[in-house]
Amino acid sequence: MEKLVLRNVYKFYELGSVEAVKDLNLTCKEGELLALLGPSGCGKSSTLRMIAGLEEITKGEIYLDGKIINWLPPRERNIALAFETYALYPHLTLFENIAFPLRIRGVKEDEIKREVMRVAEMLDLSSVLDKLPSEVSGGHQQRTSLARALIRPASLYLLDEPLSHLDAQQRTELRVQIKRIQKTQNLTMIFVTHDQLEALALADRIAIMNLGVLQQVGTPEEVYEYPENLFVADFVGEPPMNFIKVILIRENGNYWAKFYNQRIKIPESYKKSLEELYKGEETEVIMGIRPIYVNICEPERNNAISGKVYVFENIGDSNILTVEIGETLIRVELNPGYSFKIGENVNITFNPEKILLFDPKTEKRIKPQI
């Protein structure tokens, strides 16, 4: 069931200025964890603030539970919020900070106590409830802010960069807790992040924005394996995807990508789409391939491309090899256990099923057609 619907939503901050959000259409289903992902200035926070009612909608409609909420003040929206800056009351204990949304609703004392204990338990805060915000770590403050948002039943929970101020270890820990709580309690949640790994790890679906425009909405698998355009392909995944300019070769109705002295066969399923794009001998396309789908091989191997080691990095749980082929650098992600010297000869192959093609003009992915 659709919980939240954004229909043709726009946001300008000044008349005639650039749109912060442009013609956004997006839905969030009941029980879904939706990530709004993008670089700074992409419009993700403006979108969240419009949903929360903290900013006016310039144009378009937002529906929650089937009802238009454009003109409802924030407190009448049945939306719970947790912000990047914790905004805790400094003179109140963590207990009272968490209890606050229940107190202002006149909930009975014993129920408040029960509820605070329940959320505190989920977020590992039980042992610090009697402390003031200034007496606990940033991690605890961020958990408290989250607990305060989660304590009351709401139609929708909005989280703005909930993990941003934590160190790496705390971040992975809290990430697990958020996902566990959201899934086991079947909460509908939207969170904003600039961190693609966080979005992949947490979300059921990810909406990727850039310069106010929605680029793609899809499952983590979809945005990782089938990015709609170059922006998404480049933004998602680490180490980043390799992009290589190649020349299309057409022979007997089949297509190859020419890359230095090597020809890479393009699967039959692309034929139809490439027919439309092919403009003769100098037609260029951009080939995209993730470092994990490039492999090293013996020089005799069919389709082997030879190059030199540009740099080799062992980062513990994986090895990253950068290979120099002519003017192009290609990253290869390998399992641990390799060793290479700068300048050494090396041969690589691409997993043909994982090659993506992009139109250099529109920057959109060229899709196979069956």
Partner: protein, 365 residues
């Protein structure tokens, strides 16, 4: 040849001991990394080497000469700070070339050096601009260029790429490694990012609260961490650490975590037991050394456990389960599909286990 040596170096700010009894030496052409969380004493150490901070106790030698009493400008070190400062009225080119002009090089030599370093750091297109017209990440690279272009015995780098966005940081890390390798500069490089440390370092010193935790090659730091602090600082997700006791039941040894038991071979269990002074032991295993299979299995280390949460992180599916009160993370390929609440079994090779003393946290080898 040894370029830099620290002997029992300590730094006190009033009563606060920022760095305690630091001992290390750096060879010519070595990239020596200091890795640690904030407050570890990393930057303080760099500042003492550069001469900006006084040494409270101990000696610092550069090329065999005691430098404790030397002014920063007399030490032949080049340092980059995390918070950058550029001359606002000079072009990017002039900002980079200013230290060279002071050295009395010819214009031609200067130009060659500036262009080379600017290309490496991908700021060659910005050389004519004033600092006000470039981004924060670009400014940081200009500062880096200015430090690297200078002739020095030791280059001191304080988180030089920390402020860049993830993509650029990734790229710069590789470029930096290649550059240092080719130029054979002697460098001390400070970072809190374990990937940078492992990628770049010939050797790594792990520092926590001013105290040396381990000095070793990246391989030693990753595969033979000296204690639980080092073990949990490197790796993503970091090494799983499970607190328990080794029990003997009939003729079999078990590692007990609350109500969960993991079988251990008697040869391994005997070895560990002979080396510990008390009962409590911490067992460590890296997420990629664990394997999980759907459903219950016999003859595996953990025959049945419920999935607590799963996270798809790029190419991997990180599966978390609860053993005792501790979350155990397993790195599987993303083709491994499983949902919260489903049952899985877990297996691993015994030689992938690490053991640490339950009280001191030190490695039991």
């Amino acid at each position: 040849m040894e370029v830099l040596r620290l002997e029992n170096v300590s730094k006190k700010y009033g009563e606060l001991l920022a760095v305690k009894d630091l001992n290390f030496s750096v060879e010519e052409g070595e990239l020596f990394v200091i890795l640690g969380p904030s407050g570890a004493g990393k930057t303080t150490t760099l500042k003492m080497i550069s001469g900006i901070e006084e040494v409270t106790k101990g000696e610092i030698y550069i090329k065999g000469k005691l430098v404790n009493r030397l002014e920063p400008k007399d030490r032949k070190v080049s340092m980059v700070f995390e918070d950058y400062a550029l001359y606002p009225h000079l072009s990017v080119y002039k900002n980079i070339s200013s230290p060279l002009e002071a050295q009395g090089l010819t214009q031609e030599e200067i130009e060659k050096k500036v262009f080379e370093i600017a290309r490496l750091l991908q700021i060659d297109g910005l050389l004519s601009r004033p600092p006000a017209l470039i981004s924060g990440g670009q400014k940081q690279r200009v500062v880096l260029a200015r430090a690297l272009v200078k002739d020095a015995d030791v280059y001191l780098m304080d988180e030089p790429i920390a402020h860049l966005d993830a993509k650029l940081r990734h790229q710069m890390r590789g470029e930096f490694k290649r550059f240092q390798y080719i130029q054979k500069m002697t460098m001390v490089y400070v970072t809190h990012d374990f990937r940078e440390a492992l990628s770049l370092g010939n050797r790594i010193l792990v520092l926590n609260k001013g105290i040396t935790q381990q000095i070793g090659t990246p391989d030693e730091i990753f595969n033979k961490p000296a204690n639980t602090f080092v073990a949990s600082l490197v790796g993503e997700p970091p090494m799983n650490l499970l607190e328990g006791v080794i029990k003997k039941k009939d003729e079999n040894y078990l590692f007990q975590i609350n109500n969960t038991f993991i079988p251990l071979s008697s040869s391994l269990a005997n070895k560990i037991v002979s080396k510990i002074s008390q009962e409590k032991v911490i067992l460590g295993i890296r997420p990629f050394d664990l394997h999980c299979v759907l459903g219950r299995r016999e003859n595996v280390k953990v025959p049945e456990v419920e999935v607590y949460v799963t996270e798809l992180v790029g190419h991997y599916n990180i599966v978390s389960v609860k053993l005792g009160n501790t979350l155990l993370k397993i790195r599987e390929d993303k083709s491994f599909k499983v949902s919260i609440g489903e049952k899985v079994s877990i297996d691993f090779e015994e030689d992938k286990l690490h053991f640490f003393d339950g009280v001191s946290g030190n490695r039991i080898s």
